[in-house]
Structure formats: structure tokens, C-alpha cells
């Protein structure tokens, strides 16, 4: 319904405008309705300005900036209405090292409400998870779960950071 959509849009936009500068360490961003008078049909535009750069539509940004802006939006929606779990399949592929650190940091901050399942090829991301499952196809065409590595250090230090004594 119209009011629900408007309430969600406002709540998500507020979180997005807060979260973007945190994730990008600066800059600003917002969502804009293409047709504010029509809540049932309006589209959503994403305007963003990475730190030190000019404000523009998301399509004008670099490949990694676009992806990271979309991730910030997704996380803003997630903060507005957390799901019990969130699955992220190779979302970090276009991100540089600094942005991967901010990506996993943002995920860690949401683990109080939700569980995260992250699929990745990045060694950097792998170091930040609590447990690592490997999937292989030793026998062609047949998937097998192998090797579980529990990241005791990461889990414990993050836990302390989230719950100072």
C-alpha cells in the first residue's frame, strides 16, 4: 500500500544517507523518487558522491564505486528491516582491499540481529568470517563439502569489540 511504501522509503533513505559516508569514509548519497506524487508507480534513483568527488547518478561512478554504493543501499534496507539471515554471493568481486575491509566490518556490525552467509574468492574476506566451508568437485560434476576452518581469533576479537566488558 502507499503508506507502507512511503514509510519504508523514508526509513531506508535515512539509513542509506547515514550508512554511505560510513562505508565510503566520507561523501554523501541519497535515494530520490522519480515521481514523489505517485507512491504506487514511482521509481527510485540513486545519487551518490564519493568523498572529494562530484554528486551524480550511480551509473557515472567507477565499477567498484557502483558496487559498493549498491552494497550500502542493501545494508541500509537490511538495517531498516533485518532478516534473520542474509546471503551474499561474491558481492566483493569488484572491491579493492580497503572496501572489502569496510564490507566485512559493516557485516560484523549487523551480526547482533542476523546471520550472514558469504560466498567469496577473496582471501581478505575469508580471514574475516567465523567459519569457512570449502566446496570441491574432486569427482567431476559432484559437489562435496570439505574442510571446515573455524576462525577462533576473528570471532573472539570481534565478540569482544561488540561487547566491551
Amino acid at each position: 500500500s502507499e503508506r507502507l511504501f512511503e514509510h519504508a522509503f523514508t526509513g531506508i533513505n535515512r539509513r542509506f544517507t547515514e550508512l554511505f559516508p560510513k562505508m565510503f569514509r566520507g561523501g554523501k548519497a541519497e535515494l530520490r523518487l522519480t515521481n514523489p506524487n505517485d507512491m504506487l508507480e514511482t521509481g527510485i534513483e540513486i545519487l551518490a558522491q564519493p568523498p572529494g568527488k562530484r554528486l551524480g547518478h550511480i551509473e557515472l561512478m567507477s565499477g567498484g564505486e557502483k558496487a559498493f554504493t549498491a552494497v550500502s543501499l542493501l545494508f541500509a534496507i537490511f538495517r531498516y528491516k533485518p532478516s534473520p539471515f542474509c546471503i551474499l554471493d561474491e558481492v566483493d568481486a569488484p572491491l579493492d582491499d580497503a572496501n572489502i575491509d569496510r564490507y566485512v566490518e559493516a557485516i560484523r556490525a549487523m551480526t547482533d540481529r542476523s546471520q550472514f552467509i558469504i560466498i567469496t574468492h577473496s582471501k581478505r574476506t575469508m580471514q574475516a568470517v567465523d567459519v569457512l566451508y570449502g566446496v570441491t568437485m574432486q569427482e567431476p560434476g559432484v559437489s562435496k563439502l570439505v574442510g571446515v576452518r573455524v576462525n577462533e581469533a576473528a570471532a573472539r576479537s570481534e565478540h569482544k569489540r561488540a561487547n566491551p566488558a
Binding site: L74, C86, D130
Partner: protein, 173 residues
């Protein structure tokens, strides 16, 4: 409603029964290209009641059944069971009455080759698809538009037309 474990059998490349324990906050899944990581995501979507074959990267629903390989023949059925932790009273309250007292909630979906009809169970009791979707809707687990980000989907959010992006907001509304 955290996930406790996922059991996959005969689903896509997981022809052998595979159990994945999910008792951590942040779970990483890694492996070479084509080894089956995204198939795990498909298994979760499927057991949650996904009805679109396209959303599961197939042409028909039967495409989720292990189709055979060099060394194995086609599986007779695909089955996935997802088990949720139901120990949080707040989470339990959002469930239909009959499930509130269970410490766990196990949802199973099964599809037989050639059959075409899906079977659903909750805690081993046969139910209909709508019982499954009711459970997921109430607990917020069903909000997959933004809680399941498939491979390449981030790029779609970026390049989407403004009218198509509203789905993200609608699902959270």
C-alpha cells in the same frame, strides 16, 4: 530464526547427501569456479518455496534434480531440508500457533523425477506450499529480494531502471 543446518541431497551438483552446519554468525563458503557454491544458495531459495525455475537458473523446475555426470547417473529426486533455531521467544511468536513450541523448525522440500509435484514437510509433517510460505512470511525469512543477493545481482541494482528498483523497497515495506 537463525539457520542451524542445511541438508542437500540430489539437488543440482549435490548428488550425495551433504550436511552444512550453520552455527556461527558469519559463515564463509569458498571453492573453485563451478564447484557448487551458488548451488547452495539455490538450495536455500528452493526449500523456502521458490516457484520460478528461472530464479534458480534453470528452464524447468526439474532442472534442480541432479542430472547425472560422467560417473553418476541422474538422481531420482531432489531433497533439501533447512533447520531453523526456534529458541528465541520473539521469533517463535511470529510463527503459526502449531509451531511455536518446537525448539527447531525443519522445512523439507522434495521433488521426484518425472513426477512434477513438490512435497513439503515441516518437522516431518507433510504440509502444503502455502503453509511453508506462511511460516517464512511471518518470521521475515521470506524477504529474499534483499536478503539473498545472488551472484551478479549487485550489478543489476546498479543498472536497473528506477521503476524496477522499487521492488527492493516494496519487499521491505
Amino acid at each position: 530464526m537463525h539457520i542451524k543446518k542445511l541438508e542437500i541431497c540430489g539437488f543440482k551438483s549435490f548428488v550425495d547427501r551433504t550436511v552444512i552446519q550453520f552455527d556461527h554468525d558469519v559463515i564463509g563458503i569458498v571453492g573453485p569456479n563451478g564447484c557448487g557454491k551458488s548451488n547452495v544458495v539455490d538450495a536455500i531459495r528452493w526449500v523456502m518455496g521458490e516457484q520460478s525455475a528461472k530464479a534458480l537458473r534453470g528452464k524447468a523446475m526439474g532442472d534442480v534434480i541432479f542430472a547425472g555426470s560422467e560417473s553418476r547417473q541422474q538422481a531420482g529426486f531432489a531433497e533439501v531440508t533447512i533447520t531453523f533455531d526456534n529458541s528465541d521467544p520473539a521469533g517463535a511468536q511470529s510463527l503459526p500457533l502449531e509451531y511455536r513450541d518446537y525448539p527447531e523448525l525443519a522445512v523439507t522440500r522434495r521433488l521426484f523425477h518425472g513426477d512434477g509435484s513438490n512435497e513439503y514437510c515441516i518437522n516431518k509433517i507433510p504440509v502444503r506450499l502455502r503453509d511453508v510460505t506462511d511460516v517464512f512470511l511471518g518470521t521475515g525469512v521470506g524477504r529474499k529480494a534483499y536478503s539473498i543477493v545472488e551472484q551478479g545481482k549487485i550489478g543489476l541494482i546498479v543498472s536497473a531502471r528506477p521503476e524496477d528498483r522499487r521492488i527492493l523497497i516494496e519487499e521491505a515495506a
